[in-house]
């Protein structure tokens, strides 16, 4: 009786599923959602809708902003945007409220005798320019620096690079993106020779299996995750969550696999071992398009000042690589990683199955890693061995966290070693940039100076005396924060901060400049899939606030660079963008002209013959392929992608008797980055008012800690006390804790470690040792 009932139930269920899937295929052409939203808007509202990219994360959703009487009053998802097809997340829907916080900075403030005094914009800009001149005269060019972020629009970053590298002549240009996706960049450069993903978001519509490497997409890239869920309803795709912590993503995934911190390196190698052992290698692809290399090991962790590292790549054979992988059998790796042999083989079998298209997705889990470059390489290895790359649905895809981390920091090149096209170490690249910039080539120094962590160390030491910080909040985001905050406050340092709200970073400033944010000015962002998107000015900025671009131009003029910055106030964004395009004038990186960006929801570069290139390195889609084969990895001189031999190495600081827990940090869906904007949006603040520490329920029970109890976390850097969260948003594994970093009143980065990947110089915010006590 019981069994027949079950049979009948499961039969009915299957029938229902089958019909539902059939119906779904015809029902959802995309995500299309804006029409639904339209119903909620009063009929008599006389709103003017303008398109633009969302202000927040690197997904780059298209939004339509409704304005009325000069104020932004509503947001819709842009149904024409191929990114989000009309859907947003809670941050996007409420993004415009970030413009109207009561404590918006509206006038320049200058610190005089410990108090901030209102001044005029002209006076503040004069002061900045004279301080820069004075510092250069006294301490040299390399004593002045600028620190921006992936929230810089393309023209902001371009003006900064041109002023500092081209005109002043220092490579002291860095950005928050160093803390966020530098490992993704070095991963791409070492494996392919060219930065940024080969595929695009359309891969989601083609892939059969999604493997999320340490990526809580349901919260961090919710709109893309909704596209995954959509595909699961439509086509029954599989979602595998491979992570160190149980999250919303784990519960939504078809399979959740947990691993111990840092052992992703070993598991990726074990997957390659299985692929080779089972004969799943795409031999013709590997033969034609791949070569093998190894680099130095035991690189260290960059904990000491002036640490340097240069990798020495060495060619190896496929046989050497196979021998190396003998150490990474699933059995051995299982013991190290806590992942069962069965689960390793399970993942390998999906990657190996020639009939399954696999998309790997990752973000900070792999990038904020002391071996971040390596783990990026290792995931590419899996895709290269199986030939599952550069085709619709077969796609290793590195996601970003900031709206223009790709567009500005990576493409304009606002990092110490970068130029818009190429690197400062290359003479031809320097000459090429200097010619467009209208400066002598000798102006651009051939040696990179400081990466971000080292830049703040240099500020502490006194090697840097002047720093201009725009659109970012390093006094919340720097690891081992206390050292860098104390350093910035030292006598004889001059700090300028351009921002929209007071933050812990404006607290250390000598001059605070009010900025026009997002739709209060004109600009462009570039998202994770190489899509450049334009937005016009839709509302007026408050008070005397002006855009970061115009601030830089005004200071450049005061420094005597009128010739290099001849732009007119009304048209400067267009002029700069047109000039910037010259740097990328080739079929490998062409940027779409401004008219195109204005007329449609962005375009993917390389934009060639009026068309976006959706899949690079694939001759069918990419006109830059020239070797007559199906694929051409033209970023490398021999046209071959590199499969890297990279071992497992332990983290910089692992739990011991004194500090027995792992400390992991990250984000939540409600807040973006340091919360300086989202915490001023009432809806988001009320849903997530403060940071907390997540504990495993067993650990909590042992220490008799309940949700809301005060918990003290102590590391070798210091201690903080914050409320506990047990079995709520996420559940860390036993002997691990998780803290979100958005809360400036609970600065978790005061106790994190400033170890970084020696190749990318990106710090690891996900792993250090901590002691946990009931406070």
């Amino acid at each position: 009786m019981q069994t027949t009932l079950t049979d009948r139930r499961s039969f009915l269920k299957k029938m229902a599923m089958a019909s539902a899937i059939a119906a779904a295929a015809s029902m959802f052409p995309g995500i299309m959602f804006a029409a639904e939203q339209e119903k909620g808007i009063p009929k008599n509202a006389n709103l003017d809708w303008k398109k633009g990219p969302c202000r927040f994360c690197g997904v780059g959703c298209g939004v339509l902003v409704g304005t009325e009487n000069g104020k932004a009053v509503a947001v819709k998802g842009d149904p024409n945007s191929p990114v989000n097809k009309g859907l947003c997340c809670v941050k996007g829907y409420h993004s415009i409220m970030a413009l109207y916080g009561k404590d918006r900075l509206t006038h320049p403030l200058v610190k005089k005798n410990g108090r901030y005094v209102k001044t005029s914009m002209d006076e503040a800009l004069d002061l900045i320019a004279s301080k820069m001149k004075e510092t250069i005269a006294e301490h040299g060019k390399d004593a002045v620096s600028i620190y921006g972020s992936g929230q810089w629009t393309i023209p902001d970053g371009y003006a900064a690079s041109k002023l500092f590298k081209g005109c002043i002549g220092t490579n002291n240009v860095e950005a928050n993106a160093r803390l966020c996706m530098a490992s993704a960049v070095t991963g791409f450069l070492t494996s392919f020779g060219l930065d940024e993903p080969m595929g695009c978001y359309e891969d989601i519509d083609h892939a059969d299996v999604f493997v999320l490497w340490g990526n809580n997409m349901a919260e961090m890239h919710p709109v893309l995750f909704s596209r995954l869920l959509d595909q699961r309803l439509k086509r029954g795709v599989k979602i595998i969550d491979f992570a160190t912590r149980t999250t919303r993503t784990s519960t939504a995934a078809d399979k959740s696999i947990l691993f111990l911190p840092q052992t992703d390196l070993a598991v990726a190698n074990a997957i390659c071992y299985e692929i080779i052992k089972n004969g799943w290698v795409n031999n013709s692809f590997v033969e034609k398009h791949c070569s093998f290399s190894k680099g130095l090991t035991n690189m260290g962790y960059g904990l000491e000042d002036n640490y340097t590292f240069t990798d020495k790549p060495e060619k190896i054979s496929f046989e050497d690589y196979k021998t190396f992988l003998e150490d990474y059998t699933p059995e051995k790796v299982s013991k190290l990683s806590g992942v069962s042999v069965r689960d390793i083989k399970y993942m390998a079998s999906y990657y190996g199955d020639p009939n399954k298209k696999v998309m790997s997705l990752w973000c900070m889990g792999m990038n904020q890693h002391t071996r971040g470059t390596w783990i990026n390489n290792l995931v590419y290895n899996i895709h290269l061995l199986t030939g599952k790359i550069s085709q619709p649905g077969n796609s290793p895809f590195s996601l970003t966290g900031q709206p223009s981390a790709c567009g500005t920091v990576r493409e304009v090149g606002t990092l110490t070693h970068k130029l818009p096209h190429g690197v400062v170490m290359n003479k031809e690249h320097r000459e090429f940039a200097a010619k467009i910039w209208g400066v002598p080539a000798e102006n651009i120094p051939s040696k990179p100076t400081y990466h971000t962590v080292e830049m703040f160390r240099a500020l502490d030491r006194g090697d840097i005396r002047f720093m201009w910080i725009q659109v970012t909040n390093p006094m919340v985001t720097m690891p081992k924060l206390k050292r860098y905050r104390d350093g910035a406050k030292k006598e004889g340092r001059f700090i300028v901060v351009s921002d929209v709200y007071p933050t812990p970073t404006t607290d250390i400033a000598d001059v605070i400049l009010p900025s026009a944010m997002w739709i209060e000015r004109e600009g462009m962002y570039g998202n994770s899939e190489r899509r450049t998107q334009y937005f016009e000015q839709m509302v007026d900025p408050p008070g005397e606030a002006i855009s970061d671009t115009w601030q830089l131009i005004e200071v450049a003029k005061r420094l005597g660079y009128e010739k290099q910055f001849p732009y007119k106030e009304e048209t400067h964004i267009e002029e700069i963008y047109t000039e910037y395009r010259k740097h990328h004038d080739n079929i490998k990186h062409n940027m779409a002209p401004l008219e195109v960006l204005k007329s449609q929801s962005g375009a993917i570069w390389p934009y060639v013959d009026g068309k976006s290139t959706k899949w690079r390195f694939n001759a069918k889609y990419d006109p830059a392929c020239s070797n007559g084969e199906d694929f051409h990895f033209y970023g490398k001189p021999d046209g071959k992608a590199i499969i890297w031999q990279r071992p497992y190495e332990p983290a910089a600081e692992e739990p011991d008797n004194e500090y027995p827990y792992w400390l992991n940090t990250g984000r939540v869906v409600e807040h973006w980055h340091t919360g300086s904007m989202t915490r001023r949006i009432p809806v988001l603040h009320q849903a997530m008012p403060h940071a907390y520490v997540e504990l495993h329920p067993d650990d909590a029970e042992r220490m008799q800690i309940k949700t809301g109890d005060a918990v003290r976390l102590t590391t070798r850097r210091g201690e903080i006390t914050l409320p506990a969260s047990i079995n709520e948003r996420g559940v860390p594994a036993p002997m691990q804790v998780f803290v979100p970093f958005f809360d400036e009143n609970i600065l978790i980065n005061d106790i994190t470690l400033d170890s970084f990947c020696p190749i990318s110089k990106e710090p690891d915010y996900k792993k250090c040792a901590v002691r946990v006590e009931k406070a």
Binding site: V75, C88, Y116, T244, T246, R248, P697, N727
Partner: protein, 232 residues
Amino acid sequence: MRKRLGIISLFALLFIGFVVVWNYSYEQGLEGPYIPVESNSSRTLIPSESGVFRQSENALDFNQMPIDEAHQRSLETYYDNRAYPGAPPSIPHPVQKERDLGGNVCLQCHQSGGFVQKFDAYAPISPHPEMINCRQCHVTQNTKGLFAETNFTKVSPPEVGVNNALPGSPPMIPHLLSMRESCLSCHVGPSAPKEIRVTHPERINCRQCHVPNTVEHDQIEVFSRNLEESYE
């Protein structure tokens, strides 16, 4: 002799077989310290928020169900059946077995819902079908009378249509989520009160757009900074 040899070789074979099998299973045992890091815990490790995804596999079915105008519930009847907003509803119909916990008896109708001829209504879906001691919280109403009058006053339930921060923005969640993490239970399907039935049940990551505005509501102050310096 030959017979004995046969028996000996049979045993020898059995012995070899045993050694092989034992070895294999021993190796297997070594190979698989299957430690998905959580497994040494006996409790269910599901963040309380996971409920949003729980009924996702039925989402498409819900999407396709026609609206049965004649048998819709409304918010009024929904709250009539509760002592206060958020209280466990009472059981408005006779129950089969007084001695039963509830469990499968209740879940027959309340796990997946469906039309019940006898009561001429659609069975509401439980947002927490894993809790089977139903009648711990849900009790029948066997009399309309009172033992003594009460001064208890029922607070008004949250209103519908006023929870958007901006015109057209997704409404916030005006109620607490405890025991009601599975949004689909009450917000989709023919048993959902008509005022709160969603149009897009296939979007199962509900809290991508809708966030609660009731977390310790009164205690949440406007975000403010711990200021060291004073700004003029």
